[in-house]
C-alpha cells in the first residue's frame, strides 16, 4: 500500500514544493579544486519537520446539475464518501500517514577526490542517501551519485556513472544549498521522474476516466532524483567576466537504478547551455547573472509500447549584493504523471488503494514556471519569497488542473556548516475549465475534483542543514 501510493511522496499529485538558482554546477559537482586530496569525506543531514493544515474534504454534493439537460443528477455514494477524508496531498511524504512529521529527510555521506598518479586529470564523486525520501522508497540506502570525471580533452570533460542530469536550475543545484525546503511543484513533478508500470486490479471499483485517455499504473523503483546513469560531456570557458558552459548527457533513462529494469531498451539525451556574467566570487553563491536553456528527450517503455518523453526549459538568475532573483519556465510532453486516484488512503468498502494515472502519449502536455526573490540582509539572515505554478494536461480543457504556491521563507546561517530554514507555503489547486464539463460524468467527476482540490492545506516546514 505504502509503496504504491508513495508516488505522491514529497508533493503528491497536485500538491507542491520549491526552487533556487544557477552557478557553474558542472564545475562544482563534477570537478575538484586544484591540489585536492585523493579522498575527502563529506556530507550533510537535513532533519525536517513538516506540518500541513489537515483540512478534510467538504462540499461533494448529493447531486449536480446536468450540463446536458439541466436536470439534477445524483453523485455516486462512492464519491460522496470522500467528504470528511484527508487527501494525500495533506499528508507528509514519503510516508503519507500524518499531517505532522519530524523525519530525517536527507542524510548523505560521501567521499570525493582525485585519483593519485593521474596529474589530477581523473577525479571521482560518491554520495549515498540514507534519509527518508523518494530515493529510498524501496531500499534504505542507495547511491545518489557515483561518478568518475576524465579531464584529458580540452573543451570536453567526460563524466561517467550515476550523476545529475543537465536539467533545470533547481534540479542541478545541490540540495544542501537550496534556499527553500521543498522543490517547486513544476520541478518536482515534471523533472523528478516517477517510473511507472501498468497496474490494474479487477477487484477494485475505480470509476472509468471520463477525460483524456489516461493509463492506470503503479510506481516502480525509486524516484529519478534528477539523476541517471550515463556519460556526460561538458566544459566551461571563461572570457574575462563572461563564462560559457555546456553539457550533453546520454543516459540509460532508469534514474538512480543501475539496472535497465525500469525502462528497458531506451535512453535519454539531455543537453544544457548557459552563459553567465560574473560580478564577483566563486562557488555556489557566486554573484552573477546567468541565463540558461536545456532540453531532454527519450522514450519510456509502458505495457510493451515506447512513448516519447520530452522536457525542456529556459531560465535566468541574478545574485548581487545579497539580492537574488531567479525564474524558470518548464514544459513537458508525454509521460505526464497526473495524480494518484483516488487522492486518499484506503477507504470505502471494499477498501482500495489509489492507482497512479499517467498520460502516456506525447500529445499530453504540462507547463509551469517559478519566480523567486531572496534578500540576504546580514551575514546571518536571509528572507525569501517564491511563486510557482504548474498546469497539467493543458491539451485537454476538461482534464487541466493548475497548482500554485506562494512560499515565504527565512534562513538563519549559524555558521558556514549549519543553517536553519523556515518555510510557509500557501497552496492552491484549481480545476481550470469547469465550462469544459460537457457530460454528466464529467460534471460529477469535475465537481468532486474541485471539492477535493479545494481542501489542500497550507504547509509549514522547518529544516536544519548540517554539513560535515
Amino acid at each position: 500500500m505504502k509503496k504504491s501510493i508513495l508516488a505522491t511522496a514529497l508533493l503528491a499529485a497536485f500538491a507542491h514544493a520549491p526552487a533556487s538558482f544557477a552557478t557553474n554546477w558542472f564545475q562544482l559537482q563534477n570537478n575538484e579544486q586544484p591540489g585536492a586530496a585523493p579522498y575527502k569525506f563529506w556530507g550533510f543531514i537535513q532533519p525536517t519537520y513538516t506540518h500541513i493544515e489537515s483540512n478534510t474534504v467538504t462540499g461533494i454534493p448529493a447531486t449536480v446539475v446536468s450540463p446536458v439537460n439541466g436536470a439534477n443528477v445524483a453523485v455516486p455514494a462512492g464519491l460522496r464518501a470522500y467528504n470528511g477524508q484527508t487527501a494525500l496531498f495533506n499528508l507528509v511524504g514519503p510516508d503519507l500517514e500524518h499531517s505532522d512529521q519530524l523525519q530525517m529527510f536527507r542524510a548523505r555521506p560521501g567521499v570525493r577526490g582525485v585519483i593519485p598518479g593521474t596529474d589530477e586529470k581523473i577525479n571521482y564523486f560518491l554520495l549515498g542517501e540514507i534519509g527518508n525520501n523518494g530515493l529510498t522508497r524501496e531500499r534504505p540506502a542507495v547511491f545518489s551519485d557515483a561518478t568518475a570525471t576524465f579531464n584529458h580533452i580540452p573543451g570536453a570533460r567526460i563524466r561517467v556513472g550515476l550523476g545529475r542530469l543537465p536539467l533545470g536550475e533547481e534540479a542541478m543545484q545541490g540540495v544542501q544549498l537550496m534556499d527553500y525546503i521543498n522543490f517547486t511543484t513544476v520541478t518536482e513533478q515534471l523533472l523528478n521522474e516517477r517510473f511507472v508500470e501498468p497496474y490494474a486490479n479487477a477487484s477494485r471499483t475505480h470509476a472509468a476516466v471520463v477525460g483524456a485517455p489516461l493509463a492506470m499504473s503503479q510506481l516502480n523503483g525509486a524516484f529519478g532524483g534528477y539523476r541517471d546513469v550515463g556519460v556526460e560531456v561538458y566544459d566551461w570557458f571563461n572570457r574575462g567576466r563572461w563564462e560559457y558552459a555546456y553539457a550533453v548527457m546520454v543516459s540509460r533513462a532508469n534514474g538512480t537504478s543501475f539496472s535497465d529494469d525500469l525502462n528497458p531498451g531506451n535512453h535519454d539525451v539531455t543537453a544544457r547551455v548557459q552563459a553567465a556574467y560574473v560580478f564577483q566570487g566563486s562557488g555556489p553563491k557566486r554573484e552573477d547573472v546567468t541565463a540558461y536553456a536545456w532540453h531532454q528527450e527519450g522514450k519510456r517503455a509502458f505495457g510493451g509500447t515506447d512513448y516519447a518523453r520530452i522536457r525542456e526549459g529556459v531560465g535566468a538568475k541574478y545574485l548581487r549584493h545579497g539580492l537574488r532573483m531567479s525564474g524558470e519556465y518548464i514544459r513537458a510532453k508525454g509521460m505526464i504523471y497526473v495524480a494518484p486516484t483516488p487522492q486518499f488512503n484506503d477507504i470505502g468498502a471494499p477498501a482500495f488503494e489509489p492507482v497512479d494515472y499517467v498520460a502516456l502519449d506525447s500529445s499530453n502536455k504540462a507547463e509551469g514556471y517559478y519566480l523567486d526573490v531572496g534578500w540576504k540582509f546580514s551575514p546571518q539572515w536571509e528572507v525569501d519569497l517564491r511563486y510557482d505554478e504548474l498546469s497539467k494536461m493543458t491539451n485537454s480543457a476538461y482534464d487541466e488542473r493548475k497548482t500554485s504556491t506562494w512560499t515565504m521563507g527565512a534562513q538563519y546561517f549559524y555558521s558556514p556548516k549549519l543553517r536553519f530554514v523556515l518555510n510557509y507555503e500557501i497552496r492552491d489547486i484549481e480545476v481550470v475549465h469547469p465550462e469544459a464539463q460537457l457530460t454528466n460524468g464529467q460534471k460529477i467527476q469535475g465537481t468532486a475534483a474541485a471539492a477535493i482540490g479545494s481542501s489542500i492545506g497550507n504547509r509549514i516546514s522547518a529544516q536544519l542543514t548540517w554539513a560535515f
Binding site: 574575462g240 560574473v278 560580478f279 564577483q280 566570487g281 566563486s282 557566486r286 554573484e287
Partner: protein, 151 residues
C-alpha cells in the same frame, strides 16, 4: 626569491622593534586606561595562492577587530604575488573581502603583480584598493608603526 627573503627579514625586524616600542610606551608613559584607547595598527601580508591562507587572514583581521574594537585598530591587508588571486573578481573569498572592507579593513592589491599577470583594475574586486608595490607598502606601513603579520 632573495629580495623577498630580505624584505621578510626586514619586516620581522620592524615588527620586533615595534613590539618593544609599544610595550615601553604602555609601561612607562601612559596609564592603563589611556593605553587601551591608543590606536593600534597592523598590516597583513598575503603572498600565497591558497584560499585557506586567505580565509585565515580574514579570520585574523576579524578577531583583531573583535578583541580591540574596530574603531581602535587600523588594519590593512596587502596582497601580492600568488596572493593576488585573493582580490580578483572571481576570488573564493570575494564576499568576505566586501564584509571586511565594510567593517573598516583596508585591502590593497599590488599593481606590480597585476601588471605582470596582465590584470586590470576591472579584473579586481570593486572594494579593493591599489598600491604600486605590495612589498614597498609593507615596508612603509611598518615604518609607520604597524605590526606585521604573515598568516
Amino acid at each position: 626569491m632573495k629580495p623577498t627573503h630580505h624584505y621578510r627579514g626586514l619586516a620581522a625586524a620592524f615588527a620586533l622593534a615595534l613590539s618593544f616600542a609599544s610595550s615601553g610606551v604602555g609601561a612607562v608613559d601612559a596609564p592603563a586606561s589611556q593605553a587601551s584607547q591608543e590606536m593600534q595598527k597592523v598590516v597583513f601580508q598575503v603572498s600565497a595562492g591558497d584560499p585557506k591562507i586567505w580565509n585565515l587572514t580574514l579570520n585574523n583581521a576579524k578577531n583583531v577587530q573583535q578583541e580591540l574594537g574596530a574603531k581602535n585598530v587600523d588594519i590593512e591587508i596587502v596582497a601580492y604575488g600568488p596572493g593576488i588571486g585573493m582580490l580578483k573578481f572571481d576570488s573564493a573569498v570575494a564576499n568576505r573581502i566586501d564584509e571586511a572592507v565594510a567593517e573598516g579593513v583596508k585591502v590593497v592589491a599590488c599593481e606590480n603583480t597585476m601588471k605582470a599577470l596582465k590584470l586590470t583594475k576591472d579584473d579586481m574586486l570593486s572594494s579593493t584598493g591599489f598600491v604600486p608595490a605590495g612589498v614597498i607598502e609593507l615596508m612603509k606601513k611598518q615604518k609607520e608603526g604597524y605590526a606585521y603579520i604573515r598568516p
